[in-house]
């Protein structure tokens, strides 16, 4: 098992143990109340909590591990994460020749788990410089909305978002520390558009990978090229008159 794979597995396991969707619960030091996100990083797993307490105030049974499955665990304070109101900086997207503004749905997802809270708003106007390509970012990268800057704390975080009557766990999100953004804002890493902010507070912003947002909505980012990393096959995909024949990875 490679180091990144070990980290991801530890993160997934911790996420399953600590993030339980359901009705909102009053704050406490119990991990099920206090943990708001679990993210994989470079060699570590980060557990984000609503509020950090001095160790003496936390019952031993409620203390979070410093190491899990051989992976170091870091605990960071992030506050309670809620969906954000749509604001400025929303990007122009297109479905066919029709154009829209990318925005957040703010509609409580029907299930306990989700991957995106996004919607199409009224279009019009010029592209708001969201990037020249759609790509992914990396943990540690400095990203910007054009109005606010932050550092990516995780690009693979499961995040508990507190809606009015229930909490929903969003999988594989980007958590940006130190960024204060409004819903629908597109974050950039250099010239690449990498995510759309939909939740957060005054300490962190939570963004869905932009690639996922665009594909859930079935739209393109106006003025940007879409980059899909290559899928490496043991053998090249076979083609049959332009139609692919299914090709498996070698075990």
């Amino acid at each position: 098992v490679t180091a990144p794979a070990r980290v991801r597995r530890a993160k997934d396991e911790l996420s399953g143990l600590l993030l339980h969707p359901g009705p909102p619960r009053p704050p406490s030091t119990h991990p099920l109340d206090n943990v708001v996100a679990v993210g994989a990083g470079d060699g570590t797993v980060t557990i984000f909590v609503a509020a950090k307490r001095p160790l003496v105030e936390v019952a031993p049974a409620n203390r979070l591990p410093r190491m899990f499955r051989g992976v170091p665990v870091i605990v960071k304070e992030a506050g309670v994460i809620r969906p954000l109101e749509p604001g400025a900086g929303r990007a122009l997207v297109a479905a066919g020749s029709r154009q829209y503004r990318l925005t957040t749905g703010r509609i409580v997802p029907p299930g306990a788990f989700a991957i995106a809270d996004c919607a199409l708003g009224d279009g019009g106007g010029a592209p708001s410089a969201p990037g020249t390509r759609v790509a992914d970012t990396a943990t540690g990268a400095i990203v910007s909305t054009g109005f606010s800057v932050g550092r990516v704390a995780s690009v693979d975080a499961d995040v508990k978002v507190e809606y009015e009557k229930k909490t929903v766990v969003f999988r594989r999100q980007i958590v940006v520390a130190g960024m204060h953004a409004s819903g629908g804002a597109v974050i950039r890493d250099g010239d690449a558009a990498v995510g759309m902010v939909f939740a957060g507070n005054d300490r962190v912003a939570v963004a869905t990978h932009l690639r996922d947002v665009l594909d859930v909505l079935g739209v393109n980012l106006v003025g940007a090229e879409y980059e899909l990393p290559p899928w490496r096959f043991e053998t090249p995909p076979e083609k049959h008159n332009g139609h692919v024949l299914f090709t498996r990875l070698a075990p």
Binding site: G96, I115, A116, V216, G242, V244, R248
Partner: protein, 252 residues
């Protein structure tokens, strides 16, 4: 056959990728009776069935096959239409190269062998649903649905998402190749979208007819083909997008 060649005075191609609404557009143009009869004549795998349709004639070269396609795909006003996926264009280019002129580019071969060619580039913005639709069609062999006909039996077992990822990559690569083809082309090109065709069928079909210089007095017939996207496509889209993120992270 030579009379048919003489009848084809103008030609066009619907340039597309799988699951982009090309049958819907082709059927609409065909139904006018004056905008050619576009079909996938140039996919090698379809050639035996076309030859059977035409009475299994003896062919001396690809030129004979070309003439037969003109005879079938041309309406009385002299407009010939054909539908091309990217891979089929590559096959057509290989076949035309056997006829010459030597060392001609693909663009030159098309200009040489087709009368006044023009190109309708039909694209689909929503590539993920396109890939899922392609996977479903490959599995069910149901490539289009005519209104009133029963649904084909189909599995609801979710795909291996690596297969859908492969199809998505094929579609994105195909789009890049079509764009590169049009970049260097000295011929009329009209770009239209699947999403627009579905939203406003009459407007898109009318724009294609106008591009081809065809005036149709009668109103367009309603589409015979029905949309195949359904709740299963929506559920699989969400599942695939999440699974793809795991694939991109190196998890398999």
């Amino acid at each position: 056959v030579s009379t048919a060649v003489a009848q084809a005075r103008q030609s066009y191609f619907i340039c597309c990728l799988p699951r982009s609404g090309s049958w819907l557009l082709a059927d609409a143009l065909r139904s006018t009776g004056c905008a050619g009869r576009p079909e996938e004549f140039y996919w090698d795998a379809f050639r035996p069935s076309y030859l059977k349709r035409w009475g299994d004639p003896q062919l001396d070269s690809f030129a004979d096959f070309l003439e037969l396609t003109f005879a079938d795909g041309t309406t009385p006003n002299g407009l010939f239409g054909a539908k091309l996926h990217w891979g089929e264009l590559e096959q057509l280019g290989d076949s035309l190269a056997t006829l010459g002129p030597p060392n001609a580019t693909l663009h030159e071969l098309l200009q040489c062998h087709f009368p006044q060619p023009s190109f309708v580039h039909l694209q689909r913005t929503d590539v993920v649903r396109q890939a899922i639709s392609w996977w479903r069609a490959l599995r069910s062999s149901s490539w289009y649905r005519v209104a009133g006909e029963p649904l084909a039996a189909e599995t609801t077992v979710a795909p291996d998402w690596r297969d859908v990822f492969t199809l998505e990559q094929q579609l994105r690569e195909g789009t890049r190749r079509w764009r590169a083809f049009f970049d260097g082309l000295n011929a009329p090109v009209l770009h239209v979208f699947y999403e627009d065709l579905v939203d406003d069928y009459d407007a898109v079909v009318s724009s294609v007819l106008e591009f081809l210089g065809i005036t149709v007095d009668a109103p367009l017939a309603p589409p015979r083909l029905q949309r195949q996207r359904d709740e299963l496509t929506e559920a699989w889209t969400l599942a695939y997008v999440e699974a793809r993120r795991a694939l991109l992270s190196g998890e398999t």
